[in-house]
């Protein structure tokens, strides 16, 4: 029986060069698995190696992890999240809140523009039209500010004593 081995030879050359694809390697394995005993010498070289590849691989039965397997095989899909009543409800609530807010704002604005209903009362409350009173009020406010500032200053003086004391201690 004469066979044409040229294809196998070129595959083998590629194999030794590390350039074969998985399919080509499978072809070689298949060939050596069913190879006749009277192989040409150059082809015999690789025979034991391929024979070894064939028989020295463990065929262990592993306990099934079917659930996991299906998890691998099913393509990852983005779960569909149903936007139900809750999301819509919140949308509507937000819209309502904004509408109420705007409504309230407009109302306030209109009321502020309206002339005061009791002019004599508001006149008394408003100090702006009475220079004397305004001056007195301003003075009072400034005095309060000055008092408070002085209080702060006193504290600073105390702090300064303390700083000086520490410096002295440091010097000694």
């Amino acid at each position: 029986m004469h066979m044409d081995y040229s294809n196998i030879r070129s595959l083998l050359d590629k194999y030794w060069e590390g350039e074969t694809s998985l399919e080509e390697e499978a072809q070689l394995k298949q060939f050596y698995n069913a190879a006749p005993a009277d192989l040409p010498k150059d082809l015999q070289e690789a025979a034991p190696l391929f024979h070894y590849f064939e028989i020295a691989t463990p065929t262990t039965n592993l306990p099934g992890f079917e659930a996991l397997q299906t998890a691998f095989e099913t393509p990852a899909t983005t779960p569909v999240i149903k936007i139900g009543f809750l999301r819509n409800w919140m949308q509507y609530a937000a819209m309502l809140a904004i509408a109420l807010g705007i409504g309230y704002g407009i109302q306030q604005h209109i009321e502020a523009d309206r002339p005061p209903q009791h002019p004599e009362l508001s006149f008394r409350q408003d100090t702006f039209n009475d220079p004397k009173e305004a001056f007195a009020e301003t003075q009072k406010a400034l005095q309060l500010l000055a008092r408070n500032l002085n209080k702060g200053k006193q504290e600073m003086v105390k702090l300064n004593y303390f700083n000086e004391a520490t410096d002295k201690v440091k010097e000694n």
């Binding site: 194999y15 030794w16 060069e17 590390g18 998985l22 390697e25 499978a26 070289e45 690789a46 034991p48 190696l49 024979h51 070894y52 590849f53 028989i55 020295a56 691989t57 463990p58 262990t60 592993l62 306990p63 992890f65 996991l68 397997q69 998890a71 691998f72 990852a76």
Partner: protein, 162 residues
């Protein structure tokens, strides 16, 4: 090939022992199972499983000062092809032992690549993921591994089997 089979093969190549490889495969799958939630975030779930398997295997090797078993005993049990002729059968057994020894004499990075590719049929990409090296390194290591094995086989032929 189912994923658990792939993990098992990989663990087996790393540890050289079927029982330990089985244990590691189980552990790895349990770990994967427990972290299922992560799966959706991962680009390559299989590579992630391989990484888990590798880490568990390496932990085992480290923890026990493991000696990667060179299952020569297993090689001795390899089924003979020609059982009709005892002489031929012995010769074949002997040859298989030599091939086995040649592959196991390779530096680990070469041995793993040739085993994972030629015996387990993994793609370059899969091997790269498993061993955490580049595809190019896989190809280079595979080429060198095959060359070395070829040299060994040539020696066997040159000096005969006896």
């Amino acid at each position: 090939m189912p994923v658990q089979q792939k993990l098992f093969r990989f663990a087996f190549r790393l540890l050289g022992n079927e029982d330990d490889a089985k244990d590691i495969t189980q552990d790895a799958l349990m770990k994967v199972w427990r972290q299922q939630g992560k799966m959706n975030e991962l680009e390559n779930v299989e590579a992630w499983c391989m990484r888990i398997t590798r880490n568990l295997s390496l932990d085992k090797i480290k923890a026990r000062k493991y000696r990667v078993a060179d299952d020569l005993e297993k090689a001795l049990e390899l089924p003979a092809v020609d059982t009709q002729n005892p002489h031929v059968a012995t010769e074949q057994q002997d040859m298989m032992k030599r091939v086995h020894a040649a592959i196991h004499a390779l530096p680990e990075k070469f041995r793993l690549v040739i085993q994972l590719r030629d015996m387990d049929g993994f793609s370059y990409q899969e091997i790269a993921d498993m061993l955490d090296i580049t595809i190019n390194e896989v190809k280079v290591n595979l080429h060198r591994a095959r060359q070395k094995v070829r040299e060994q086989l040539k020696n066997v032929y040159a000096y005969g089997l006896q």
